[in-house]
């Protein structure tokens, strides 16, 4: 399995996947910390990948869905965006609904 197939398998394995620097408990970047906190604040479960633990994923993720920066948030395999977008969605009160919707669709598959 090449790295792109591996990333595809990761984003397909959970309804919501956060690619971040570090972990939600020990984030290693302010933008990743904000993204993890914002997702966690909804109370909806999400998965994460620490890109520092997988150099190959870190190097190839920007090309996966053409997004140059980290963190990246995927819902049902589709890129939702980076940290700024998650924060904006939370402020517009649409984040929790989007996460719940992704989870429902995932479980119905």
């Amino acid at each position: 399995m090449d790295v792109m197939q591996r990333i595809q398998a990761q984003v397909d394995s959970s309804p919501i996947v956060l690619y971040m620097k570090g972990t939600p408990q020990f984030p290693q970047c302010g933008f990743s910390a904000t993204a993890a906190q914002t997702l966690a604040s909804t109370g909806v479960e999400f998965a994460y990948v620490n890109i520092f633990e997988d150099q190959e994923v870190m190097q190839n993720l920007p090309a996966f869905q053409d997004w140059p920066t980290f963190p990246q948030i995927y819902m049902n395999g589709e890129l939702v965006g980076g940290g700024d977008i998650i924060v904006e969605m939370a402020q517009m009160d649409s984040l929790k609904a989007a996460m719940e919707d992704a989870t429902t669709k995932f479980n119905d598959k």
């Binding site: 053409d66 890129l79 700024d84 977008i85």
Partner: protein, 102 residues
Amino acid sequence: MNDMQQHLTEQLTTALSPTHLEVINESANHSGPATQSHFKLVVVSNYFVDLKLIDRHRFINQLFKEELNHIHAMAMHTYTPDEWLMKNGAPHSPQCSSKTKH
């Protein structure tokens, strides 16, 4: 105003004719010697009216594809004029000490 700040401002002005534009150099808030490493953009433009958030960000990512090779972080806040009226400014960027690109 430093070079990169001016460059970003000019490019955004040309591409999006913003009704409100802030290009803020936040590099001093971050560790390391770089003085042009962290920027925050607040762009209000009619161009965004029919674009989803991700597509607005993609547009700017594409516009600054080359620059992003040199900039560590670019926080983006994109609004239509109507959305901007409903808000009281863009959120703060987080602090960070990482040496790799966001």
